[in-house]
């Protein structure tokens, strides 16, 4: 027994493998102890925090489980579609899509403007850039539903509320994303244009903007998806659109109508997502 294991251990060295590799029962060590420690701490902390927060919530699971049959019933009711009042659902859907489109377009334009002011390639004043990006960080940190609620107080019910409310968060998002895109263009483009005597406006419109166009379109399409899902949510907190149709129909136990609206939301979101990902793969990925 002892002899045979010795023979086995010797064998690899015949081909010149280092003997040390054979130490732990023929295994090649693939782990780095330093990495393992960090990961262990990370997963340990996550596990402890997760269990602690799970217990903190003090959920009455038995009561919840006893209601699960209701869940199935709700889904059956949602999927027995009821097409009465479809025209009003359709117009609410059109309103949601319009709010998405307008909010995204207006905020992309403003985002390009603010992004240019926040780009290190264009603005040298560090203090101004810092102040602007701090303000936008604050705006982004507050969920857009909250902004919509506040705009609702000022402007009242209507599509303008949804558009402005969505825009607040989107502008802050675009400003950061586009400032990053403009920074990514790189100093060589800016330098080349500066050398030939271009002013800052020319540098932006002739050098940076064309080079950042693909990432501008990419961020734009991402935000269209987000804004559509946000715009369907708006109705639930009191602004208009398809969200209002969904929430009011569910509250009035007209599940069939809500089901139709939810399927419309799903189909549109799905089409937009697949459309944009096809578009990106075909035109934007190749450089």
């Amino acid at each position: 027994m002892n002899q045979s294991s010795q023979q086995l251990a010797v064998q690899p060295s015949r081909w010149g493998f280092p003997q040390a590799r054979e130490r732990s029962g023929g295994k090649i060590p693939v782990k780095a102890p330093g990495q393992d420690r960090v990961l262990k701490i990370f997963f340990g902390t996550c596990a402890v925090l997760s269990v602690a927060s799970f217990l903190f919530l003090e959920v009455d699971w038995l009561k919840l489980l006893s209601r699960v049959p209701n869940m199935g019933e709700s889904f059956v009711k949602l999927f027995t579609f009821d097409f009465t009042g479809f025209s009003s659902t359709l117009s609410a859907f059109g309103e949601s899509v319009s709010m998405t489109v307008l909010a995204t377009i207006y905020s992309a334009v403003l985002g390009i403007l603010f992004g240019a002011f926040m780009s290190r390639n264009l603005v040298k004043n560090r203090l101004a850039v810092g102040a602007l990006s701090a303000a936008f960080t604050f705006v982004r940190a507050v969920p857009s539903v909250v902004w919509v609620l506040l705009v609702l107080v000022c402007l009242g019910f209507g599509p303008a509320t949804g558009i402005v409310g969505l825009s607040v968060h989107s502008i802050a998002f675009f400003a950061k994303a586009y400032a990053q895109s403009f920074d990514d263009v790189g100093g060589d483009v800016v330098e080349a244009l500066t050398v030939v005597g271009a002013n800052r406006l020319q540098i932006f419109f002739r050098g940076i903007l064309p080079a950042a166009l693909s990432s501008i379109v990419a961020w734009f399409s991402l935000r269209v998806e987000t804004n559509f899902s946000e715009s369907t949510v708006l109705g639930m907190v009191g602004a208009g659109g398809i969200g209002f149709v969904i929430s009011s129909n569910i509250q009035n136990y007209r599940y069939g109508r809500a089901g139709v609206a939810i399927v419309m939301v799903f189909l549109f979101a799905y089409l937009v997502e697949t459309g944009f990902s096809k578009m990106k793969r075909a035109y934007l990925m190749d450089h």
């Binding site: 990495q35 925090l49 903190f56 009455d60 709010m99 307008l102 000022c154 064309p210 899902s229 946000e230």
Partner: protein
């Protein structure tokens, strides 16, 4: 005699032309439908400032103990839902990815289900769940878990699909079974990506748990919603500041963790 060097290739130029033309059409139709005029809003700007400066500011804080427990509820919701979704999403992704799945047909069904769940906003799920199961943090937990489960399953499937052939092939050739493949090929190769997406989901869920709280999940979102609905704007302003600090703090913490775990490892 003007010579121009085109910065954008011809094919791309055509794409951008079509893209902006479509965008312009949508813009025109949407403007017609909603009659939205941003310049009209500029004239109402005065009312906006008046509201902001007179009704809204300065922010006040009432009942700090209640607010603290509301914050804890929101954070606990986010953490527990994200972790639960991580475990479920990993298991689902391993079964749904065509690279590893032992039930390819079930995997297809699972992928379709995930697409369905993911394309319906989480607040709509929350609303459906609240109407069926009643309101409360438990239901908010379920709603958050469902939407981040769908998100993570999809990203995890993509990560596994991008896994290099060599390690899986080597294990298959050596006769490894399904759990061995998962433990020795998928886990070590994809762990860092999984952690990355987990941290990202955590950031998203802090925001989502605030919003889901508003429609009946409890926590800081519900506190804010009650203040706004009862026209108590200074107190609402205080809560909004707290939410902003919370979200920025969590983002910073996640960025720090990302740097520690992903760089050192």
């Amino acid at each position: 005699m003007e010579h121009r060097i085109p910065v954008v290739s011809k094919r791309e130029k055509r794409f951008y032309t079509i893209f902006f033309a479509v965008l312009l059409t949508f813009f025109a139709v949407a403007t017609l439908l909603t009659q939205y005029n941003p310049f009209a809003l500029l004239f109402q700007g005065g009312a906006f400032w008046e509201f902001l400066t007179q009704d809204f500011l300065p922010p006040t804080l009432k009942d700090p103990a209640g607010i603290l427990s509301a914050i804890l509820t929101t954070v606990a919701l986010a953490i527990s839902a994200t972790s639960c979704a991580l475990v479920l999403g990993f298991v689902a992704a391993v079964f749904a990815s065509p690279r590893t799945s032992i039930f390819p047909r079930a995997g297809k069904v699972l992928r379709a289900l995930v697409t369905l769940v993911r394309n319906i906003p989480s607040l709509i799920w929350a609303f459906i769940l609240f109407s069926a199961l009643g309101i409360g943090t438990g239901v908010a937990f379920v709603a958050l878990t469902i939407s981040s489960f769908a998100f993570m399953t999809r990203t995890f499937i993509e990560v596994i699909d991008e896994l290099a052939d060599s390690s899986l092939e080597a294990l298959t050739a050596a006769g490894a079974n399904f759990p061995q493949k998962v433990v020795h090929a998928v886990l070590p190769n994809c762990l860092m990506d999984f952690i990355e997406w987990y941290l990202y989901s955590m950031e998203l869920n802090i925001r989502s748990s605030t919003i889901v709280g508003m429609v009946g999940g409890g926590g800081i979102g519900l506190v804010l919603f009650t203040y706004i609905k009862s026209f108590n704007y200074p107190a609402a302003a205080g809560i909004i500041l707290i939410i902003a600090v919370l979200v920025i703090g969590v983002d910073r913490l996640m960025a720090y963790t990302r740097k520690k775990v992903l760089n050192e490892a």
